[in-house]
Symmetry: C2
Subunit: 119 residues, 2 copies
DNA sequence: TATACATTCAACCAAAAGGTTGATTAAATA
DNA sequence: TATTTAATCAACCTTTTGGTTGAATGTATA
């Protein structure tokens, strides 16, 4: 299931896919990710200010984003700076690519079969 | 948040993203999707045979895949033929693309700011 | 027609997810 | 030093998710 590391390719496996896709499937976490992409490094408290939920809830969302590598954290004194890291998106894109190629391969085989039939 | 429909672009909104990403975040559903990509139209019972869970559980997974448009169903008599439809993947890819462009835009702005500072 | 087969529906259950509040830790500041 | 500030930890609650089983529906077949 896992693919080979080639050049700058990012490896993927089922557990990583599950973690990343599950993480991205929440609207608040997608919003947080978008925000840190737009604004660069943000403090947890400032991020929480945008949402109609407790600081704790946002803190937990950030922890999940961090756990699957979609954001990174730099702690400076008591302030935690949260920054986006979109590299992991490649893992999902690789899966999409593989899925599409599997799909295309079958259609190719089907086309060949039809051709053979015509002989 | 929703983007414009341009040519063959597939529109997206938060609800669709949530639905599709949540659907893809389950390992059994990803496996089912891969399988129907490989094998073309499959019967529910045959698909269920590959997994260590009840037919009912697989049936429910297929229903979720169908609900968010990742597979389609053709009912012929008592047999339901399940087929992959990867078009919806584009919705997620569009979001990735937008996110990356937001990210790149900010870095550009930052670079411009530095340049201005140098004047 | 009686029976087997393909699939879903409905009710249920345990675990996970997403939220809350209150306490805790540690750093900045009056 | 005492207090405020930044953030997490811990316990708890409700809803959702992913599974189960048994019954129902509809179609094919002996």
């Amino acid at each position: 299931m896992a693919c080979h590391i080639v050049n700058h390719m990012v490896e993927y496996n089922e557990e990583m896919l599950t973690e990343i896709l599950k993480c991205m499937s929440d609207v608040t976490r997608r919003s947080l990710l978008t925000r840190v992409c737009q604004e660069g490094p943000c403090r947890v408290t400032d991020l929480a200010g945008y949402y109609d939920m407790s600081l704790n809830a946002v803190s937990k969302h950030i922890k999940l984003l961090e756990r699957c590598g979609l954001v990174t954290r730099k702690t400076v004194g008591r302030v935690h700076w949260i920054e986006a890291d979109l590299a992991r998106i490649q893992i999902v894109e690789n899966w999409f690519k593989e899925l599409k190629s599997i799909w295309a391969l079958r259609l190719d085989n089907f086309a060949n079969l039809m051709e053979t039939k015509d002989d």
